[in-house]
Amino acid sequence: MAVRASSEGAAAAADPEGAPPLEVSDSFEEFARAPSLEAVDRLARAVLADATWPTVRAWNRSGRSAVGCFPVYTPQELIHAMGMLPVALHGGGETIEISHADAALGSFLCSISKSTLEMGLTGRLAPFRAFVFPYICDVSRNLEGIFPRAVPGAATHMLHLPQNFRSAATVPFLVAEYRRLLRVLESAGGSPYRPDRLADSIELFNRQRAEIARWTEIKRRDPSRISLTESYLVRRLGGLLPREVHLELLRRMRAAVEDRVPRPKDSVRVLLVGSFCEQPTLDLLDLLEQVGCYVVDDELLQLYRWHPAVDPTGDPLENLARAYVESPLDIGVRATPTTKGEAILGRVAAAGAQAVLFLTAKFCEPALEDIVLYRAALDREKIPSLHLEFEERSSALDQSRLQLETFVESILFA
């Protein structure tokens, strides 16, 4: 490989046009004390546009370590309990140009895998001490195998997330799998594992999950109160900030949202499905509501909604494993044979959606294969649906706009 990770971190990742890296305070108080949702929105956009991981650099300044977690699910509580910052790696978004990763990975692969590897090959992931790649698809799994060559010096771990949810042996296996992850994290500078610390972390993440559930409920109940992009950006910060800071941010901003006066307009209530791993551009998310879709539920950032609250008492490691295995979630990266149709109809009903929008990343096979089964059930019930594909750097939205407008009009004026 011509390019290898640089230890210079932010310098290696500097904006090619010369914009200085964003500096975040050590205490993250600009997030915790943000005066308004608009201010949070601006901060989040600035953080996402800066490929030097400003929040991670701020965390590292006090000698702590960060762990990059590829989507969709990693037990972040384990990382937090070891005194490390779990950071959601959601690809390079619109900021990364692919120059080297194509050659290492191959042509017909999703943008998120390429931009993540590109960040590794160009030194942009230097702020991380370790990486976790859960087995959510073959690309994520294989990416782990080539990461040590791309980012030498950092620990990498492929987390086998089981798919047999009926076996009595699955929870014990997952406990063993989590212990394997703990050993990797310890070798990467994490504190020794202590069950009491994990129990504390579980309680913290339970509070974050509960708060995000309240945000989801607001969007379902009264979608004009907050835009999809606002809600998305607040949630997205959850994978980039210390969770204590994020929790405070969520609470304060929810109060601000609830103070807003709703201004409903003619729109279609839409369930957004398929973007559970690679994330659509902010422009594309904006477009959905511009053309008249109220996204009343979505699969974006499923990490915070994978399972309900975890019991922090007893054996916290086993409880965390059990929560993963017993989750009722039905998405493309979780084996749920014979329940696909029932699941999508149940989600439509729960969200009070009128239609389903499948927004899938190009080459995302788990999402692409589910769509056929979902659509068969939706067609039977005469629930309209539309499928659009996206890539991280797809900036031309004209065709998507046209398709969306036609879709919305066909429902509103039917």
């Binding site: 490989m1 194509d102 050659a103 290492a104 990975l105 191959g106 042509s107 017909f108 692969l109 895998s113 087995y135 959510i136 698809c137 073959d138 690309v139 799994r141 294989n142 990416l143 782990e144 195998g145 080539i146 040590p148 060559r149 791309a150 492929m158 086998h160 089981p162 798919q163 047999n164 009926r166 076996s167 009595a168 042996a169 699955t170 014990p172 296996f173 063993a176 799998e177 394997r180 493309g332 084996a335 749920t336 044979p337 014979t338 696909k340 149709g341 190009k362 080459f363 096979e365 788990p366 692409l368 294969e369 589910d370 769509i371 056929v372 089964l373 659509r375 068969a376």
Partner: protein
């Protein structure tokens, strides 16, 4: 280099015997199904064929059906049918062939594929397996068992992982007893495993002969052709007998000097799934340059038997668990890289050829990094080309041929054109 225009040298009586076995297999399948001769669908990687056969099931491998369709040039209508159902351009070609074929009634040029009475998903090395079997479960509404096989990240499988698989295998046996209304017969399973082991030993001996100079076998194109018994008929006596026949012919080749190409000029290790719709054309691109595959990874997708693993009737479930865990594409990239590097050394290869598959991310994602490692870290000449294993629309013959010609020519030039061809000596 002089071009070889002769026909590929097959192992003739083995080829005829295999053809009879394939015809008999599909003829039997055509009348299978229902309570008397129930049909189980299984995947090749990490499959549980011995257990399923011991319960009296006929076994269908839709991946094998798909590649047979591709090699017979009938995959495209099935793929187009699946695309009409909504399966996108980027979905695995095997999946689309199967789901299209099912929708079209299951008729192929080699026989009718019966619908499943049971679905067994060995989630070993390919996430698409899970999605594919979900689609079949929705379509047919028959029972499905999913064996979750942890990804192999260490050379020595962790005991927790093996214990997890063995526990699931015990649950699978209870599941089969209920589904088939038959009692589990451990003696029957041990007998089946003994047949498997005999076939595996014969297959290993065949593959090892690629180390001879010149190689008496084509370890990619011929070996892929001879994978049918080890993958589809494993656990039967006839599969074991087949490899005895095959090895007798290899011995005869060595004695008579009848080698896969008249003059062996380049010894290759090949990584990746073949472009089945253009199998013969692709092979010709090798033969033209006297290039012979002496080892390959793809013939190991049904089991890495050549690296010391064999089913063991004395440890039935434990050895099945080890088998499932060690499937080639269930191995991490560091393990895959190591295997390929060992093949290059042990089989005295001159170069590596990687064939990437557009719609198979499990095999393909990371092959570019492998190429980089081989060329830049180890100095092994390596060519990476791409097409598809199932969809003929993605095979660009002129482009592939040009790249292969340039590669072989540069190999020749690199050696100063001085490499003497290795001629077979009786």
């Amino acid at each position: 280099m002089g071009a070889s225009t002769e026909e590929p040298s097959f192992l003739v009586s083995a080829r005829d015997r295999q053809r009879e076995m394939i015809e008999a297999y599909y003829a039997d399948l055509a009348t299978a199904g229902g309570a008397k001769r129930p049909v189980a669908y299984m995947l090749v990687g990490g499959n549980l064929t011995e257990i399923v056969r011991s319960f009296g099931y006929e076994v269908v491998f839709p991946e094998i059906v798909a590649l047979n369709c591709a090699i017979k040039h009938v995959s495209l209508p099935n793929i187009l049918q699946a695309e009409a159902q909504g399966y996108g351009l980027d979905v695995c070609g095997y999946v689309k062939n199967d789901l299209g074929l099912q929708q079209l009634g299951g008729q192929t040029p080699f026989g009718r594929i019966p619908p499943p009475d049971l679905l067994v998903c060995s989630f070993s090395g390919c996430y698409v397996y899970v999605k594919w079997w979900e689609a079949l479960a929705e379509k047919f509404g028959c029972p499905l068992f999913l064996l979750d096989v942890p990804y192999l990240r260490d050379e020595r499988p962790p005991t927790e992982d093996l214990g997890y698989i063995v526990a699931q295998l015990n649950e699978f046996i209870a599941f089969l007893e209920k589904a088939s209304d038959r009692r589990f017969d451990p003696a029957s399973l041990r007998r089946t495993l003994a047949h498997s082991r005999a076939a595996e030993e014969g297959w290993v001996r065949y593959l090892a002969s690629g180390a001879r100079r010149p190689s008496p076998i084509e370890a990619y194109f011929e070996a892929v052709f001879h994978m049918f018994p080890i993958n589809v008929l494993r656990g039967t006596e006839e599969a074991a007998r087949f490899y005895a026949t095959l090895n007798a012919e290899v011995d005869e080749r060595v004695r008579s000097g009848a080698y896969p190409v008249p003059e062996e000029k380049v010894r290759l290790v090949v990584e990746g799934v073949p472009p089945y719709p253009n199998y013969r054309t692709f092979w010709d691109f090798f033969r033209k340059w006297g290039a012979v595959s002496v080892a390959a990874t793809y013939p190991k997708v049904g089991g890495l038997f050549d690296r010391g693993f064999l089913h063991d009737p004395a440890r039935p479930l434990e050895s099945i668990a080890e088998y499932a865990l060690g499937a080639y594409v269930n191995q991490s990239w560091p393990l895959r890289r190591k295997l390929i590097e060992e093949y290059v050394r042990e089989f005295a290869a001159d170069a590596v050829l990687i064939h990437g598959i557009k719609s198979c991310r499990s095999f393909t994602a990371g092959q570019g990094d492998l190429r980089d490692r081989l060329i830049h870290d180890l100095g092994i000449p390596t060519l990476y080309i791409e097409s598809d294993h199932e969809d003929p629309r993605y095979f660009a013959p002129a482009q592939i041929k040009n790249r292969m010609d340039a590669f072989f020519e540069s190999l020749d030039r690199r050696r100063g054109g001085a490499a003497e061809p290795l001629r077979g000596a009786p």
